[in-house]
Amino acid sequence: MSNTMTTDNWIKVAQEADFATDVGGCIKHHNKHIAIFNINNRTEWYAIDNICPHKGQNVLSRGIVGDTDGEPKVACPLHKNAFLLKTGQCISDETTPGVRSYEIKCENGEIFINLTT
């Protein structure tokens, strides 16, 4: 497996250049799928669960990214439920639970996430 553990809880997941600009992508860590998004021309990075709690499919990384009131969000490609990228909260439907969000950082062209957050 290509993931390397660092001294703290940060996991290096991929090169920044592996991600296409301003859309999502998915990484796999053990059996977990994490959706990673970059927006505003690669200046902001976010990580949330890839699984949509509505129907349990691993698809959120393939949704359309946008914002509501300035807060970045992604709309699920299956039924357009929307989740905030910072917190994972579902904002479109009161009955759908949110997803987990994770710390993420980009250093020297490499992307790290912290799954303990």
Partner: protein, 831 residues
């Protein structure tokens, strides 16, 4: 000279009205009693003078022609081209022509029209002074303009502004000089004229009002103009458009009564002072009035034809409603727009910022429309004119007529039990109740409250419409914004993208929006960008729809469908084998779709490029099943095989599918072609459908299967293939241009002001003057079409997306299948 027992009808002038007269008489003369001889002074048979300006924007003289030469031959009309009548001998009922012809008549029709009126300003004879009336005038103007930098039009009326627009489009710095204190003084009130002035000046045409020209000066040719009490104006050429002067010289000479200011005097029978001579069109002076428009002239032809056939008919005046056909400027007026001499009320929308002014003059009892003016947005013109001319009762709230998007009351008329969301079983009544009890005022709030739209989402557009119609009916503000990022609707977005030549979503956001967009505005903008600029470089950058993301439809478990195009539903055995091989290799589920093609389902995102490469190599191309664009054109086998077929329906379907494939639109487009009236391809349930007839094809539009089935309406009957394509081109482009996001053609037409009649008018009669542009846009689409998948496979950045994971080459094992009826089907994880 040949004499037979038929009556000789001699028509002087083969202009718009003269030609119409011939056509009407031929149509009605069932007993073949008349022999028609017509003199045409111009070097070509009658052409569409109303659309003369299009000669500048690329229409040929041939395009403008009303009837081809063959038509005159075929109908036994003797047409003397380039030969003017020089004398009428009433005593011997004979006309003489310049070329020496001498023809006896039983009845004479004067349809000599009018000439541009050139006021006796000193210097009008100079080189560089033109009038704007015939194709020859335009040829001369174009030749002269090559050496000019500026032009000035004398006259700020309907024609003058049209001429100004033409010189502007020739690249000349253009000014308009008007002696009245406002533009179009005969058609507009003060406020409207003021708005128009802004619109015209916005197009970089300078207007000088209150300017009385005293001389045109220059050494042999035009150099400048001088005015009474105003500064001189330098200009390289002058176009005089100061009104018209009836061509009554022949009439005068033979002693017919003419008016003081010109025009052959006619009575309600349109007879001149000689009972064997009629006058029609712009030369006729009826009730001391010259009708300078074509429609009244056409009405006159009907009256005279009826009289010749011994029927009762009178001409008692006609409507002077007009719509100015300046590209980019909507101006129209009709009826008694100033409310002169009657008790009346007015309803006004005035929005100076947008340059919009709309006024309706209504009767005191609020029942009838008496007249009106529309500036800046004349979309309601057709509807208003219809109401005005038919004397139809006004809707309860006349404002609805002129509010943008007015007329969507159809949803409101549905019974309360109508089911709107089938997934969640929510009725129209439930939604209205939610609006009332919980103050819901948009689709999202309705969804949270009633769950309507939370299933497959297919009903959201109807929910939206219903909410808007209800709010409007209650007199509440309707938010027409696409979403929080753009505070205007899709049509406005289309116009802004087009006007500012915006090529990317980011650019659009910076110039006209805020924030970073969302799942609503991104697909809407992407679709518009794709329909306007089909450019490969921008295409991938702008792909914003869920399905576009991977050029495939996502299925419920996150896998994708693969659907190659099979134009007209035809496929060779060899290609069918390739589909079988691909499906087998990648273990895909295979099913025939409702649109006569083959779907392969269950592909993982990382498999898509390989699968498509194999299909492309075998000669397939993308079926765009993922896009809001043309799906398929179903067809029956038609004449080639079927015992009943009368036309080659499969052939037409293939041709149309190849023509429109890849066209991005507000919603998906489906179509079908049937080879005879038995309608096996079910064309009337499609967005556009064609059904063969003995004489050609019938074209139906805006049908729908889907959630709210409805039959397509007949747009045109018995037309040939070229016309089918032409009308379909325009229909589609007009829809792409004016429909709201995610609106199918059926809903669009149901909500279109004026409905199918308006649509016919736009597409067939070019009532908005936009056909040329629509045609060009379609041509552009056809020329720039490229298979998405072929282009995508060559695009490295785009291909980055096609991996299950970014950090490993493993495939997504959570996508699982089980076997059912010998094929795979998604095995859903339990939530």
């Amino acid at each position: 000279m040949i004499r037979h027992n038929k009556k000789n009808i001699v028509v002087i002038g083969n202009g718009m009205v003269g030609c119409k007269f011939c056509a009407n008489l031929i149509d009605q003369d069932e007993e073949n009693q008349f022999e028609i001889i017509t003199f045409c002074e111009e070097p070509r048979p009658a052409y569409d003078r109303v659309h003369l300006s299009e000669y500048f924007s690329g229409k040929s003289a041939k395009d403008l022609e009303l009837k081809p030469m063959e038509w005159y031959f075929a109908n036994g009309i003797t047409l003397h081209l380039e030969d003017a009548v020089s004398k009428i001998d009433r005593a011997n009922k004979t006309v003489f022509s310049k070329k020496g012809r001498e023809i006896e008549y039983d009845t004479l029709i004067l349809a000599t029209g009018s000439a541009a009126f050139v006021p006796p300003i000193p210097g009008v004879e100079k080189e560089g002074v033109f009038v704007y009336r015939t194709i020859e005038d335009l040829d001369e103007m174009m030749a002269y303009a090559k050496n000019c930098k500026s032009a000035t039009v004398i006259g700020g009326g309907l024609l003058g502004l049209e001429a100004a627009k033409a010189t502007k489009d020739m690249g000349l710095a253009t000014s308009v000089v008007e002696f009245a204190p406002k533009l179009m003084p005969r058609q507009l009130d003060d406020v409207a004229a003021h708005r128009l002035l802004q619109l015209i000046e916005d197009q970089d045409i300078k207007c000088y009002l209150n300017h009385i020209t005293t001389a045109i000066e220059g050494d042999g040719k035009v150099e400048k103009m001088t005015f009474k009490g105003n500064d001189d104006l330098q200009t390289d050429m002058v176009v005089v458009s100061a009104g018209i002067r009836p061509r009554d010289e022949l009439a005068k000479e033979c002693g017919l009564e003419v008016g003081d200011r010109g025009g052959v005097i006619v009575d309600d029978n349109l007879l001149t002072s000689d009972p064997d001579i009629y006058a029609i069109g712009e030369v006729a002076l009826h009730n001391n009035f010259i009708y300078g428009l074509v429609a009244p002239g056409y009405q006159m032809t009907e009256v005279v034809v009826d009289q010749l056939l011994g029927k009762e008919a009178k001409f008692t005046g006609a409507d002077m409603s007009t719509k100015l056909k300046l590209i980019g400027t909507d101006v129209a007026s009709f009826g008694n727009f100033e409310g002169t001499d009657v008790e009346h009320d007015t309803v006004v929308i005035d929005d100076p910022k947008k340059g919009v002014y709309k006024k309706l003059v209504i009767s005191e009892d609020n029942k009838k429309l008496l007249g009106g003016i529309l500036v800046g947005d004349a979309s309601a013109y057709a509807n208003c004119l219809m109401m005005y001319q038919n004397g139809t009762d006004l809707p309860e709230n006349p404002m609805d007529l002129i509010q943008s998007g007015g007329g969507s009351s159809a949803v409101l008329a549905m019974p309360d039990e109508t089911q709107i969301c089938t997934c969640e079983n929510v009725s129209k009544g439930d939604i209205l109740q939610a609006m009332e009890e919980h103050d819901c005022c948009n689709a999202t709030e309705i969804k949270n409250c009633t769950r309507a739209g939370s299933g497959c989402g297919g009903c959201v557009p109807i929910v939206n419409q219903l909410v808007k119609a209800k709010l409007k009916a209650d007199g509440k503000d309707v938010n027409e914004s696409i979403c929080e990022h753009f505070n205007f609707d899709r049509i406005e977005m289309f116009n802004r993208i087009k006007a500012d030549k915006i090529k990317t979503f980011e650019d659009l956001l910076i110039k006209h929006g805020k924030g970073s967009g969302c799942e609503i505005c991104k697909p809407a903008a992407a679709s518009i960008l794709a329909s306007l600029w089909n450019e490969p470089v921008h295409r991938f950058h702008n792909l914003q729809d869920t399905n576009d993301h991977f050029l495939a439809n996502m299925q419920k478990n996150g896998s994708y469908s693969v659907i190659p195009r099979l134009p007209g539903g035809e496929v060779t055995a060899d290609k069918l084998i390739v589909i079988g091989q691909v499906a087998k290799k990648y273990n895909l589920y295979v099913k025939l779709t409702g649109g006569q093609r083959i779907a392969m389902l269950g592909a993982r995102v990382d498999q898509l490029p390989d699968i498509w490469k194999e299909l492309l190599d075998a000669g397939f191309e993308s079926g765009q099943a993922y896009g809001k664009s043309l799906r398929t054109i179903k067809s029956c086998v038609g004449q080639s095989w079927c015992r009943f077929g009368v036309q080659d329906s499969s052939g037409l379907a293939v041709e149309m599918e190849n023509r429109y494939k890849g066209l991005r639109s507000p919603h998906k487009l489906k179509s079908a072609v049937s080879g005879c009236t038995r309608e096996c391809a079910e064309a009337r349930s499609k967005d556009f459908g064609v059904i063969a007839t003995d004489k050609g094809w019938n074209l139906y539009v805006s049908g729908n299967g889907g959630m709210q089935p409805q039959h397509g309406l007949l747009l045109a009957a018995d037309i040939d293939k070229e016309t089918v394509l032409k009308y379909t081109d325009r229909f589609l482009m007009y829809y792409v241009r004016t429909a709201d996001k995610l609106t199918r053609t059926s809903t669009w037409l149901n909500n279109l002001d004026g409905g199918i009649e308006h649509l016919k008018d736009v597409i067939i009669n070019d009532s908005l003057g936009i056909c040329d542009e629509l045609d060009k846009q379609m041509e552009y689409h056809i020329n720039t079409y490229e298979c998405d998948w072929r282009a995508a496979l060559d695009n490295k950045e785009f291909m980055k997306r096609f991996r299950s994971f970014i950090n490993t080459d493993e495939t997504d094992k959570t996508i699982q299948f089980e076997i059912n009826r010998e094929q795979i089907q998604p095995k859903m994880a339990n939530v």
